[in-house]
Amino acid sequence: MPFIWRKRLFLLLLPLLLGLTAWKIHPETDLNAFFTATDSEDSALLAGLLQSGELSRRYLLMVEPNAASPTAALPKNPAAATATLSLFTAELVRQLAGLDAVERVWPAHGPPREWMSTVQQYAPYHARIYSLSPQDEGKVLFDPGQLVQRAKGLQLALFSPQGGFLKPIAKQDPLLLSLNGFKSMRQVLDIQSRQDSNVTALVLQSRPAALDAEAQASLQNSIRTRFDALNQAAGGVFRLRMTGIPIFTVAAQAEIKRDVTLVSIVSSVGVALVFLLLFRSFAALHWMLLIQMASFAVGALACSLAFSHIHTLTLALGASLIGICTDYPMHVLVHCAKHRQTPVSAAQLLWPSLLMGGLTTIIGYVAMGMTGFPGLGQIAVFAAASIAAALGLTRWVLPALLGDRNLHPAHLPGIGAWVSFCERRRPLLLGVFAISVIAALATLPHIRWMDDLQKLAMDMGEMRREDDAIRSHFTSIEPGRFVIVQAPDMEAALQRSEAVELRLQKLKSSGDLADYHGLFPWLVSKQLQTENATTYAAALNPEFRDAWRVALANAGLSVEKLGSLLPASADPLRPEAVLATPVRQIVSGQIMQQKSGVALSIWLGKHEPAKLAESLTGLEGVRYFSQKDQLDSMAQQHRDRSLNMLAVGIGIMSLFIWLQQRSIVNVLFTLLPSLSAVLFIFATWSVLREEVSFLHVIGLLLSVSLCVDYGIFFMDNRGHDTDITYHAIASSTLTTLASFGALGLAKTPTLPILAISVSLGVTVGFLLCPLLIRSGLEKRSNR
């Protein structure tokens, strides 16, 4: 196709491509989706539990006196102060409950009222759900000698303010058996606040998902606005503190947004400046920018076709790819300028090297994508498509865009001197290199591996402290450690869960476990229901019934209304029916559907991990799950996989280079600079006692894939002018440093790690090229 038509076609299709991309991409802000690997069932379980249900959508709010208020203070009389706080909180709750994004809000010292009423719905099933161990507990519950005391207790309860709540239960279940399982209801029903008259703790359940950062940010703003207005009217005597997963989500989202913007701008400006510095041509710059734009759009579009959403971090890292995509046009432009060749002949001349360089880079990214992180998989697709597009555009469109334009590249100082120095002092430098390699190898066993993934998390120290401070007002379950019960179906899972709860009860009574949140009696297995019903039927003999009626009469209660002890209901309480009621909210986050069946979790209070784990021995499908242990284990798995992928990536790159070069020696020479760079960087980290994570390894894998290009170009030296080739490589190195260096400005810790790893890798690799690749030097011509 004639150049003019290529140019017109490109300029016509580019806006369409950009429009299509903007229409297709749906940026995803879910951090877990990016970082949490879901290819193992445990990882999926962990991710699911972190994100699931109502628990993650809850805020913990605290309203307390504002000690810092200089102008106003609460009444000094404690009772009056408490009353003021109580009235203020009541109005706040009323207003918050009216917000569209709020599902419910309630004071943390008690469960929401509708949850209490769900307990009443269990009364008809009292004979089926009263005990985890009916045969043992039945001896006490159905002891006729205890009935006088129980009737007295019933009388006291019915005559107390709780009488209204108990009456409908007592009419169906006079022995209040259905409440037996709920004895520790105050502990079972969710989190609660410690009674503190100076502070009111509230639980707010939002409607939007915890990770819907935009909706959650809007809700947080509304909460603060309502509070501020009320507080202003009250004289500013109170202050509001909030925590919860959505608070962290919004903060993280804000940081990521900032990082994405910063990285994109700095990276783009950096690459443009490097380009201008090298070629001093705005015309060439704008064609190059259009090629970058098209490559970026192709990457984003490919990603959106391969995945339902594209993560904002993918776009951020994708922005750093701009630098790599610039490499290919840059090589053409340098050769074109230095050799006074036309762009088309330069592109034709360099095409084999460009193709091989692009291929090895794609291999590096694909290997990175196979390390297990869903987010890195996206970046691999993004990179592969972008690089392929950049290569194609460089070969077939760039010459059409540039036409016969003359370029005057700047001479980079020191490039020629370094090449000459390497040539002159080769024996000495190779000696130093050999000693360095031996020394570096010696340090490798001392590398410190990072086994705590938390160290890679965003620094939210202040928010964590606030979270701890707020949570200290709640009697809370230990976060991140629980018992997991897995079974092929719900019935089997409930049976196993009940076996666990029996063990936990023993542990609790011995003081080794402060508390736990199980599923009994909210959900009870059919097997246990039958056991309960059988024990109940056997206990309710005529003697027992008579004793109960006498006890009722003695307590002044109606024998007519409470004297009939009904048989167990014919139908069991079915989990599906229970989960259709508000009970679903209570057990939210404790039931997970898995590929292999059902997983139930039992949350734990303070405990000794070793004792708890030991107490569960012998129970099938049951294990103690520690989120931290799981994350640590994931860190190790990722590290091992990254190292494997580093090796696999290098292997595949070697194969492709061999296919082109057909010489093992050439393959070794091509790879040597990048591999040596990796070795020296590992050694430096080892000496500096830097903790090395899988991200460091991934960064080095990328640096290898980029640096191998330098080896290929240097080895091929298609212009038969080492100085020009090395200038082109230097230009590529500078743009790579400009783009990847921008990642170092990010606050998300993962990005600076990649920035350091890649930047160090390409710099060292670049410097080693003229020293280690002799075949290129032989072709060097004197200018």
Binding site: A83, S86, P161, K167, L557, S558, L562
Partner: protein
């Protein structure tokens, strides 16, 4: 015909406000009489008719009202129980059973709501009651009676109907609380004290109930 209808409507419009004003004046006068402005103490006898009790349940004790709106119910027989409303809180303390509860009235259930309404009636807070009840007043000489019927559309079962009656000659009052399910409580009260000196007792009982 059309003119006759128009005149009828006019009379109706004129008559309606007059009836409301006349009724409003009587109510205002009665609530003014009931209203407790200072600290007051009543000895009470309560008779509860409960669906699940074999016989009426009787109890006696004192009701103490404070000018800040606090109300303490000190039951002495059959056993000592303190139930109180102070600020936005409801307090319950059963010494014998060692049970102590605190709940915010705003988030409380039906029992707490009923106690709030009882307090409003006892202390003559008509503004709190008007939103929930329609009033019917009867007066025969010094004896008066005010019936509070739940307004249509109020969320039903938890709001009881109430009656208060009294006699200006002896200062005695009776309050009857009737639940929708048929249960009822009848208080017979006699004022046994008033004035600043009761404040100390009220505060002491509130502190005891709160466990402070």
């Amino acid at each position: 015909m059309r003119t006759a209808t128009g005149i009828g409507m006019l009379w109706l419009l004129l008559a309606l406000p007059l009836g409301v004003i006349a009724d409003g004046n009587g109510l205002a006068e009665l609530f003014g009489r009931i209203r407790l402005t200072g600290a007051a103490e009543f000895r009470y006898e309560e008779t509860r008719i409960l669906e699940l009790a074999a016989a009426p349940v009787k109890s006696t004790g004192y009701l103490l009202s404070s000018p800040d709106g606090s109300l303490v119910k000190l039951q002495l027989s059959p056993r000592r129980i303190i139930m109180a409303i102070s600020g936005g809180q409801m307090l319950y303390y059963d010494e014998e059973q060692k049970q102590r509860h605190t709940a915010s009235l705003s988030f409380a259930g039906s029992a707490q709501q009923q106690i709030s309404l009882f307090r409003a009636l006892l202390q003559g807070r008509n503004e709190e009651l008007q939103a929930v009840y329609d009033f019917t007043m009867e007066r025969r000489g010094k004896h008066w009676k005010l019936a509070l019927n739940v307004k249509p559309g109020q969320t039903g079962e938890d709001v009881p109907a109430m009656e208060i009656e009294g006699d200006d000659r002896n200062g005695k009052r009776q309050i009857l609380i009737r639940q929708a399910d048929g249960e009822s409580s009848r208080y017979t009260m006699e004022k046994t004290g008033e004035g600043q000196s009761l404040e100390f007792s009220i505060q002491r009982l509130l502190l005891e109930a709160a466990g402070e």
